[in-house]
């Protein structure tokens, strides 16, 4: 198996997460273990209540497990302090959210620069160069100075993806990244994700839409806080083809 030789980016070892609500304890994650290697495009699916948001928070170092251990790029996260996790997020993770979360009235390039603002290794010029490169990578090289409120949903999501790329993260975490987009734009974004995958990026795409799973290399399905299914996708569909086959929208 050639996957085994690749570097392990994410490793979960019997991760549990309990929430105390009133007098009851809710077991959101009931012992989850899996590894994700460099260069994988993984979809994590599950209905609401399956624990996928909780898992995403764990993967994104926004939360720590009640028990078990999570290794991100070989670093144990569960005992880290808040500020250490913030730094880890800054260096290792790129987030893409469902509702874009761009800063309002702020240009595309400034939005993309944001993660590097919290990294003292970058000076203003390096920051600008990295942000411009990331925007070129998502095909927005000609919209650097457009303000966030002057862009379409697809463009905003691409800015958000550029923002996730700019720190050259170990893993890109997408949370329902196509959830707010129409079919055509969704496919455009998927094409972009597949392109990044082809370039060797590690991507985790959390979604409740089973259709997206067809375009990724591996699918993990959650149910009731446990991994129900973890399969490699033998036949990865091309989002670019699917996009080409979509009926061309006609103006009424």
């Amino acid at each position: 198996m050639e996957e085994k030789q690749k570097k392990v980016v994410i490793e979960l070892d019997n991760v549990r997460r309990d929430f105390v609500v009133g007098e009851e304890t809710v077991h959101a994650l009931r012992g989850i273990s899996f590894k994700i290697h460099e260069g994988e495009f993984v979809t994590i699916m599950g209905t609401s209540g399956s624990g996928k948001s909780t898992l995403l928070n764990q993967l994104g170092c926004l939360d720590t497990p009640t028990s078990g251990e999570y290794y991100l790029d070989g670093i144990a996260v569960s005992t880290m302090r808040k500020s250490q996790r913030a730094k880890l997020r800054n260096r290792k993770i790129g987030f893409v959210f469902q509702n874009y979360n761009l800063l309002p009235k702020t240009s595309a390039v400034e939005n993309v620069e944001l993660p590097l603002m919290y990294n003292s290794a970058y000076n203003a010029r390096q920051r600008r160069e990295a942000a411009e490169a990331a925007l070129h990578a998502v095909g927005l090289g000609n919209r650097m100075n457009h303000l966030s409120n002057q862009m379409s949903g697809g463009q905003m999501q691409r800015v958000a993806i550029a923002r996730a790329l700019v720190n050259n993260p170990a893993v890109i975490l997408a949370d329902e990244a196509t959830g707010n987009l129409d079919t055509r734009t969704s496919f455009e974004v998927l094409v972009l994700f597949q392109k990044l995958h082809a370039e060797g990026r590690t991507i985790i795409f959390v979604t409740h839409n089973p259709e997206i799973a067809q375009y990724s290399s591996r699918n993990i399905t959650l149910r009731d806080g446990k991994v129900r299914e973890d399969v490699l996708n033998p036949k990865i569909l091309s989002a670019a083809e699917a996009l080409a086959n979509l009926p061309i929208p006609q103006d009424e």
């Binding site: 928070n57 994104g60 926004l62 939360d63 808040k82 500020s83 913030a86 730094k87 997020r89 800054n90 260096r91 987030f95 959210f97 979360n101 800063l103 309002p104 009235k105 702020t106 944001l114 993660p115 603002m117 919290y118 990294n119 003292s120 203003a124 923002r163 720190n167």
Partner: protein, 405 residues
């Protein structure tokens, strides 16, 4: 995040909420301007009082009958009759540190010349008086020792009295005016001194020989005041000591008895006045400072709103790697920027306000340190009232913050 970026982010946030930021700045602007204007008026009044008093002569020593008020109780009226002509003569003969002495009695009432009259005060003095008070005669001359010996009915008048009694501008010298139906022949007109700090017209007076005023107007044998001038300002203290000795001997006071007179130097009065003005200034400034406190609360309020409104932004920043301290700093810098900008504008408004007050006739002087203090206070307000909202922002849970709608 480094400092330059913090400033950029803060200014951007202020700029995107211009009107709101301006309103919260307004409190600071008004507060700082009020403090500066109050300080300027306080300081200006103090300086003007000092200047006025020193113009009157800083080596003047005044002796009044009776001792200081004891525990706020006014003294027996008989205690007010302790200064006698003998005291004056004794000082004249014995005092080494005193160059000039003038006994003083005064009365006020109406003075009449022809169809004109005005209400004024008459001061009975010796010939030394003008020297002590550094007063000049503009027209005519001072009355003489002989006039005093004869209790002559002669007088000098101030500019205001001259204006009131001789509106047509005739020469007052040689004319006879009546004060309380006693006729006085005018021998001189004093040079104008203008108003003093307390708004009193210093030119509204008549000066006559003390003997004349005592015998013909008041029919009394005791003196109201004795004015002296020490050789120099520095010798005032020795002079006071000497005067005390002379008067105690002259009053035959025993060792254990308290002084039945009070000696005040102009210097002392200047200090008293200054400290009174300082107290007034402090009261004014404290009152104005309360508006700064209110302004600070206004900033806190607006920052709390801003934090709540930008919960999502805070969540995003935390997700991409902002630590609690970064978020805290961001909001702190923003509130400091608001309060310091307000402070700068406040200083400008305060300066203009001071000019307006000056034009309206208030004595003003802006002390440099009041501007410094304003800046320090504004920064403290920014930090103090910005801290709580900033802390609130820093403590947010990024998971909840980013999903906040």
């Amino acid at each position: 995040m480094n400092f330059t970026n913090l400033i950029k982010v803060a200014l951007k946030s202020i700029a995107s909420n211009k009107f709101r930021s301006f309103l919260s700045m307004l409190g600071i602007i008004i507060g700082v301007a009020a403090v500066i204007i109050m300080m300027a008026i306080g300081q200006g009044s103090k300086e003007s009082v000092r200047k006025n008093i020193s113009q009157m002569g800083t080596n003047i020593i005044m002796i009044r009958p009776g001792s200081d008020m004891r525990g706020g109780v006014r003294q027996d009226p008989s205690a007010m009759q302790t200064l006698k002509i003998e005291d004056y003569r004794s000082i004249q003969q014995n005092a080494q540190y005193i160059t000039h002495v003038s006994p003083e009695v005064s009365s006020s009432g109406q003075v009449i010349y022809g169809a004109h009259n005005t209400s004024t005060s008459i001061y009975g003095e010796s010939t030394d008086y003008l020297t002590i008070k550094q007063w000049k005669v503009e027209d005519g001359m001072m009355f003489t020792e002989e006039d005093i010996n004869k209790s002559a009915k002669v007088c000098l008048i101030g500019k205001t009295v001259a204006k009131e009694l001789f509106p047509e501008g005739g020469d007052p010298i040689g004319k006879t005016i009546r004060f309380k139906s006693i006729p006085f022949r005018i021998v001189g007109v004093l040079k104008s001194k203008g108003y003093n700090t307390f708004g009193m017209d210093q030119d509204n007076l008549i000066i006559a020989p003390y003997t004349t005023v005592m015998k013909r107007i008041l029919a009394q044998t005791y003196l109201g005041t004795i004015n002296c001038s020490a050789i120099t300002e520095e010798m005032t203290d020795q002079a006071i000591e000497e005067l005390t000795k002379i008067l105690r001997t002259s009053h035959k006071l025993k060792e254990h008895e308290k002084d039945n007179f009070t000696i005040r130097s102009q210097q002392e009065m200047m200090d008293t006045m200054s400290s009174t003005m300082d107290t007034i200034t402090v009261i004014l400034v404290v009152a104005a400072a309360f508006s700064l406190l209110v302004a600070g609360i206004g900033i806190m309020n607006i920052m709390l709103v801003s934090v709540t409104e930008r919960t999502k932004e805070i969540g995003l920043r935390m997700s991409v790697g902002a630590r609690g301290i970064d978020i805290c700093n961001q909001f702190l810098v923003e509130s400091i920027a608001i309060s310091i900008t307000g402070g700068v504008l406040g200083v400008a408004v305060g300066y203009l306000g001071t000019l307006v007050c000056g034009a309206l006739g208030f004595p003003t002087s802006i002390p440099m340190w009041s501007i410094m203090v304003s800046f320090v206070v504004c920064t403290l307000i920014g930090v103090g009232f910005g801290y709580f909202p900033a802390r609130k922002a820093a403590k947010m849970n990024p998971i909840e913050a980013i999903r906040y709608e």
